[in-house]
């Protein structure tokens, strides 16, 4: 058997030197005259171990990481092609604690094989969900998804099955499936990992959505900041088309479904579903008023399912193993699993898929291992730039849509950014307003003007100018933005701002006191 070496080509692994490691291994193989097959897989998501190189041995996979190019010679000397011991030795990947504690449903295959090998995809259960779906009546597919309890993983948490049912029940000569892959929230990279590491699961999920609702055309709208994901998805779509997974007869059935990859152009607001639809149509990415719902009048005015990458990528496992299997995981009204992305100043950063219900403290302290800097955790922002900052006092909050809402927060796309005690929460609050001002589409006044005024007023607080009066003004402004904005950009910017003011009042004290304290 020729040894197989797996070297991730996921952006995160590349950013940490994956390409240099691959070149060093190729060179070493050549110099030693050893024959081996190099497979470029995706990432399993433990970025503190990337680049994580794996070798297939008689006893299964053995992982090494984080591998530096300078480690390569000694890896060969230690006999790593047969799983030999080395300072970077990690053992069987699924026994590494970070992975052993996870429940991988959506990410079951991500990072294991060559993402563009359809055979590898099928060998790990791929396409069985779609196979089941083509043999069912559309309404039955929709009810499976409804029964699974799957809710929109983009952030809003709207039940996916109900969205699909609306599209199924709406008559239309053309219907669309749109995948929102405009993953702009800081701390999130789950969509990117799926698109780079297991693209066929997204294609399969979209094809199932098409069959369930009568849509024959799909679009994946990927942000331009993800060139690797764009390239992988384009290749995967071409392969799926050639293999008959997409086309006039999906898996040989009478159902037609095809899709196209589209690239965004650097506008954060296009992650909002209606502005994404405008952008796909070739317009300014301005938010639309709802109603009409996109399910009734969406892309080009036609009935449209618009779902996040992770929502769609979770459908194949539901259709494969059944609604009850998926629903069995989780708590309360948050069913199934959620890929939590642990990011920022954290020791063990990466993607951790688990059933809903872990507490924030377990995620940050136990799984994340505390800060990378070694200093105490001061705050964690959950849900991206529009999510609230939580202090340690709220670390008992379970990871669940409703539990976070009860504490004036949101789980959003499940990204968590950890900050150590050097963070200045006034600065973070100001940034939230500044970011909203940069990215506002400009359609509604509370967001367009409010964000700029918010920056100015917070600057006055920082300068110690009538701090109390100006903080009252910010609170009032946040209230206006929250209830008066058309979409979540203006409507949720108050979350990071108000949570900073509420939980970290000491950072908003007048300037003389702040200066004296420093």
């Amino acid at each position: 058997m020729i040894p197989r070496i797996y070297i991730p080509a996921d952006s995160g692994a590349l950013a940490l030197g994956g390409e240099k490691v691959a070149r060093a291994i190729e060179k070493e193989l050549k110099e030693r005259g050893v024959e081996a097959k190099i497979v470029r897989n995706g990432s399993r998501g433990a970025y503190f171990l990337e680049p994580m190189v794996e070798v297939a041995t008689d006893k299964g996979r053995v992982a090494y990481g984080p591998v530096k190019p300078s480690d390569v010679k000694s890896l060969f000397d230690s006999g790593f092609l047969t799983g030999g011991h080395h300072k970077r030795w990690l053992g069987a990947p699924d026994k590494i604690p970070f992975f052993a504690k996870q429940t991988r449903l959506t990410f079951a295959r991500c990072g294991i094989n060559d993402p563009l090998s359809l055979d590898a995809y099928k060998s790990l259960g791929g396409l069985s969900g779609l196979q089941n779906a083509v043999a069912m009546a559309p309404a039955d597919v929709v009810s499976q998804v409804t029964e699974s309890g799957l809710r929109g993983r983009g952030g809003a948490g709207f039940p996916t099955g109900i969205k699909w049912k609306t599209v199924l029940d709406t008559a239309g000569d053309q219907k669309y499936i749109v995948c929102n892959a405009d993953e702009g929230d800081s701390a999130t990279f789950a969509d990117r990992m799926i698109m780079e590491g297991d693209p066929f699961v997204l294609i399969e999920g979209m094809a199932i959505a098409g069959i369930a609702t009568g849509a024959t055309k799909g679009f994946v709208y990927i942000r331009s900041e993800y060139p690797h994901a764009v390239a992988t998805m384009n290749k995967a779509v071409a392969i799926a088309r050639k293999a008959g997974v997409l086309g006039l007869n999906v898996l040989g059935s009478p159902n037609a479904f095809d899709m196209e990859i589209r690239v965004g152009a650097g506008a954060y607001v296009c992650g909002e579903e209606t502005s994404l639809l405008n952008s796909l149509e070739g317009k300014r990415g301005v938010v639309r008023a709802k109603p009409p719902l996109p399910a009734i009048q969406g892309l080009f005015g036609k009935p449209t399912v618009i779902n996040n990458v992770i929502s769609l990528a979770s459908v194949p496992v539901i259709m494969d193993k059944g609604a009850a299997y998926y629903k069995d995981f989780g708590m309360g009204r948050s069913r199934g699993t959620i890929p939590i992305q642990i990011a920022g100043n954290v020791k063990h950063g990466g993607l951790f898929e688990t059933a809903f219900g872990l507490t924030l403290g377990e995620i940050v302290d136990e799984i994340g291992g505390g800060t990378a800097s070694g200093r105490p955790v001061k705050a964690v922002q959950v849900g991206g730039p529009l999510g609230a900052y939580f202090p340690r006092a709220l670390f008992d909050t379970p990871f669940d849509y409703e539990e976070f809402a009860k504490r004036d927060g949101l789980i959003g796309h499940a990204g968590i950014t950890v900050f150590d005690d050097t963070a200045d929460m006034l600065k973070q609050a100001r940034f939230a307003m500044e970011f909203c001002a940069i990215e506002s589409c400009g359609k509604c006044t509370p967001c367009r003007i409010g964000s700029t005024r918010g920056v100015e007023v917070l600057d006055k607080v920082a300068a110690g100018i009538e701090a109390e009066k100006n903080l009252a003004l910010v609170t009032d402004l946040c209230n206006t933005m929250k209830f008066g904005s058309l979409c979540a950009l203006g409507g949720f910017t108050p979350y990071p701002v108000m949570s900073s003011i509420t939980h970290f009042p000491e950072d908003f004290k007048p300037a003389p006191a702040r200066v004296a304290a420093e």
Partner: protein
């Protein structure tokens, strides 16, 4: 592509791109991306050609081009360096990284060095949030920026 093409040439190359892509559903963004790939920016002279080709007003086309951060009105430097300034990178000191890079290159965000070697831009998230602070140099991703990596980047863009 730093040389600005003559307006007639811009018009004919733009027309060719439109011809190729106008059959797409919602063709304007893919066309604008192709134009920027072709010229390195979206030339003003291309806008009336797009408007004609897609039966839009010039104002509509201008509105779309100016809405998106990606489309440039003039050519960028030979290299484009984007530094992530979003929260996850902030938590790992992206402010200090930006300050250092600006000082070494002698330019601020949205500026190009006088010799045209590099354009510096902020970016709000590259999806490398567990590898912060991060950057993108000419489409290639770089994580866990430190003084050594910053030095390598600056040396590369200057060479």
């Amino acid at each position: 592509m730093t040389m600005q093409a003559a307006s007639t040439e811009i018009a004919s190359r733009t027309a060719a791109i439109i011809d190729e892509m106008k059959g797409l559903e919602g063709p304007l963004l893919p066309i604008l991306h192709s134009i920027q790939d072709e010229f390195g920016y979206v030339p003003k002279d291309a806008l009336p050609v797009i408007a004609d080709g897609l039966n839009l007003s010039r104002a509509e086309v201008h509105g779309v081009v100016s809405f998106y951060h990606d489309f440039r009105a003039k050519p960028a430097g030979r290299h484009v360096l984007k530094l992530c300034q979003a929260e996850a990178c902030q938590s790992m000191g992206s402010d200090a990284v930006a300050a250092k890079v600006k000082q070494l290159l002698g330019i601020d965000f949205h500026e190009t060095t006088r010799d045209g070697s590099v354009t510096l831009e902020p970016v709000y998230c590259l999806g490398l949030c567990a590898c912060s602070p991060s950057a993108m140099l000419d489409g290639e991703v770089i994580g866990r920026l430190d003084d050594e990596k910053i030095g390598e980047i600056v040396a590369e863009v200057r060479s």
